[in-house]
Symmetry: D2
Subunit: 344 residues, 4 copies
């Protein structure tokens, strides 16, 4: 069985694992106060071209989203996002569990537009009884989105401008950020993202590490006491250096960008093969997640040798599914799938 | 200016106020442990034909909704309701502030159907990663709804059956319950509601009292330690007897039903006058809230002498608005409005 | 049975009730946006000699404490207070229910000193792993305390200075404030309190109203969006004018101060009678709560005709109890008790 | 510098790391649904002699404590524990952040007795206004405690009995459980603990893994929907198999018990050396944490080559400190310290 169902079915990239092994017997203080974490922070600040960015390492995505959001909002505020956002669909109400409403916006493609934020903001403040409703307090986006799409520099700049004018911190979930930066249509750099967002994270779990997400806070008003909130939410890893070590391995020599490009290259080969079969796509993704709409008869054959994720029935005989590549997917695995596709 | 904008612009019905005055210098223990509260509880148990119902008195609707919901749900559970439900639209995220997501269902008319609950339940439990999503833990409805409509006995029985089969407690918000029971099309009694719901409340604030909602818990599994949660949420009134006294005045001689019928009768007169003008209605309400769609030119004239609530623009030249009657509305006020309507 | 067990066994002072009756049929907008509330706010601003104070009316003490505290603290912060503080002892964990720890300080007499705040603050910030502990985020005191004592102007000034130097908002619970202001040893005015605290409330429930507490926010950094949080916590009374009306009756002609002086005068007569019997006191209160230590044999006799509250056993044969007077206690009731005391 | 400051300064035991490396390229489903986790669960059930125990793997201690506690308590309930408990002292109010009060009991030695639980329970339920106070809802203990002590089988049996009679679930924090089981005075087995507690965890972070705590739920009433709450709190590791793999390495061949015994053996050598110097101890620990009281002059010398943790000043010239050994401490390191101690 060859697995394309998601991008976290293996352990870590060998280089990451290797550095964990080589540093295993070092003795360091705990909770991210060690030299490895410090070095990883410096690497991230360099890549972000922001020497004053505040960098924190957490373990997983849900934890990171809930921690960042809880650190920003006051009790009566909620977080604007796409209706397909991970915080709305797949985090068991983690945001609500910290007291805040998720405020989903309609989004056929998984993105949020500057105009939508403007409208939601105006709708709230124009309501004569606005204090009877949840106040929009920040904006959450993902890049790439859950639908595999990316924001252009123009789109993100507009969002950023609208958010700053309204004092709505803009938070970018970068669980798959590497795969977005590697997309052919991408025109955003890490430095752009650092400049345009108030806080974002560079995801490790899906891009080469065992686990770990690096939170980058660029808005100095937001960073205050962040470590308390990380600790309170059980997200301050005792052996914090494990996170520092992994991000060093990932970022020191560009590994993060290389393996992301590798995964996206393979995804583009898959996309082409799907197109050649005449399949349509649920979302026009050029990142590592592909959403072809495939006749159920074909899917039944493919399911014998490949795993993939069910997304939605598009009609009686066809189904949209998700195939993911990752840093761990091999050329041979993609060759095999393409061969079997052509044979259908 | 004659006010039709909502049903809580005055103080209390004179009989209620009178009993407050007459009992003012009595000395009683606090927090609802007094004899007035006990007597009011007995009256409610009688009306509900349920001698074992657990009855608690709280101050207002948002407080009551949040307290009941917090007492029932576990941390990972949410509350199913119509998208127009008060807990979704006008309580500043009170449910989320106690850690739970509101799970709104599409509802053009403000009601929730048994089929919708069944579907939402199945959708959750059929999801292979259901533990990554909020679990439906109870159902909230209002009767009348925010749209002025009422549930038939058949509808409420179906809902109740679907909820009980799935162990989803059914909670009915009765902020305007009297006006629903007085509707011409109503076929539900208080006893029916007590039998079909697990918990509901009889609203006083909008039907004759200064303030106060009587929570009736008929499912014995739900009542445990309810007073703690009332106290924790700041909802245990020190001079609790004020609530008991008011509900005695309201319920002892049927005042609650009489004043509700009065208000609904006046609303029906208004409805007829709107119909005669050829106005359509946003919702076909036969309770105390009427939602006519009125040409903006007419509204501009009416606004000189009457208050009403803006609901929504239905097209460029027409607007749906809400006119409320209440126990305090007089025949003369309705006469005046009808006269002015005819003159338009 | 003559009741001295607490100071909220009756309804409202007749003048308060009278104004409620006289304004009952007025029609006003809801939620505290009416003219009565506006007038009551103006009266309070005048008494506080602070024309810019932000004034809000809530229903009860627990609700007010939890709302004010939730509006101020960030998630990782707690509230410093005396171990006898109401938020620590008698609010069913309402502060914790909004996510914050109560941080009790040892306090034999119920007061908090400036030195204790300084120490607690230093202890926290000198801890090398302070982010693993709850950060002190504000200070809560009561005046009078639960033990019937009051802060002197010098004490409150010291507390205020220490708090302001450390950016710890100082919140004064004034549930019984009138009885404190009326104490013979008192040298604080409402204007002093408004100047020295960041937020406080003037309690109505125990001093003449049916219910109601007036929150006065003098630190402009704290007031932002307070109404949202009041609404979210179910504390925004629909017929908000009931609160405005009651505070007008209480404050317009000095009634609040007169009835407080009345209650304290009677308490001083009781104190003298206890002293004459040779009873010691648990706390040297000169406000409306008296805590004599009485032989159990005497208590058994008194209990036949008087209610009072058990406080603690001081040894095998003696018990500290609480006798409260209030605006509603009469000279005759106190005469009777004194007579019966002397006869023991 | 030789580190004795805590027991988590290194990575993982080489065998644990080795199995992580060997399984790194395996492809598994996520979130703990893989075969490694299943095998680790079976090993734990065997060791606990409880084939129906419900086993879940989380990442760290604070996260585990907060998740277990949130899954058990209703909103008005708190958790009884020693005043030295980790949840009270070093988790930044994580319990409160999920809405519950920590209810600390006086504890000079860090343990909780059956009598204390009984008293606290009775004190609550005998209080006439108990619903105005936080209801004890469960009991939290650590074994070993933060003070290095262990519960005897008799002590734990008494606690268990008292808790079960009062329906208070008993939760044992086993962050250092291995070091407790290895203590010379220990007479508890894992099976005993599983039988006497309702839920406990076997800590990996401090006993051989990179991270990870194995929660064992033996009371079937408590396990319901636990995975939802784990996910909601950001504690459901995407690559969950990393936890399964580590616990297999730890438990399959008794490694957990061997390395624990190694650490405790070294600690006993240290204790003897301290005794020989005539040092007293803050706590009479026979586990891996030692708390000698050492003259400040000696400490100054030791601090040049060794790290240890400050605990408290015992008088002007002496300080209690903590020395920890772990699975990673070597005989040579202990030899060196003993040599230097003798030379003082």
């Amino acid at each position: 069985m060859i697995r394309f169902e998601c991008d976290y079915t293996e352990g870590a990239h060998p280089n990451v694992l290797d550095l964990l092994v080589r540093t295993n017997s070092d003795r360091t203080p705990g909770y991210g106060t060690d030299d490895y974490c410090e070095k990883a922070r410096a690497l991230i600040r360099d890549l972000c071209q922001n020497p004053r960015a505040d960098v924190h390492f957490l373990t997983g995505g849900t934890q990171t989203n809930a921690t960042v959001i809880a650190s920003i909002l006051r009790p009566h505020q909620g977080v604007l996002c796409a209706e397909t956002a991970h915080i709305q669909t797949h985090e068991t109400g983690a945001v609500e569990a910290s007291g805040h409403r998720v405020l989903p916006l309609p989004s056929p493609d998984g993105k949020v537009t500057a105009g939508q934020i403007e409208d939601a903001y105006n709708r709230h403040w124009n309501d004569v009884v606005h204090e009877h409703t949840v106040q929009p307090g920040m904006v959450y986006i993902s890049n790439p989105t859950e639908t595999g799409l990316i924001y252009s520099k123009e789109e993100l700049s507009s969002l950023s401008r609208v958010c700053r004018e309204r004092k709505l911190p803009l938070f970018l979930d970068g669980a798959r950020l590497g795969y977005g930066l590697a997309a052919q249509s991408n025109d955003l750099s890490l430095a752009d993202i650092a400049a345009l967002c108030d806080v974002f994270f560079i995801g490790g779990t899906k891009v080469g590490t065992l686990f770990g997400e690096a939170v980058v806070i660029t808005n100095p008003e937001l960073g205050r006491d962040f470590r308390y909130i990380v600790k309170q939410r059980g997200a301050l890893l005792a052996k914090g250096r494990l996170l520092g070590v992994q991000f060093i391995a990932l970022l020191e020599n560009g590994l993060y960008f290389d393996i992301s490009a590798h995964a996206v290259g393979l995804a583009m080969r898959l996309r082409k093969a799907f197109e050649e079969k005449g399949y349509a796509f649920l979302y026009p993704s050029d990142t590592n997640q592909q959403f072809p709409i495939i006749p159920d008869a074909h899917l039944a054959v493919l399911a014998k040798n490949y795993t993939f994720s069910f997304w939605e029935k598009t009609d009686e005989k066809n189904t949209a599914v998700r195939f993911c590549t990752s840093w761990a997917t091999s050329e041979e695995e993609v060759d095999s799938l393409i061969r079997d596709l052509r044979a259908l």
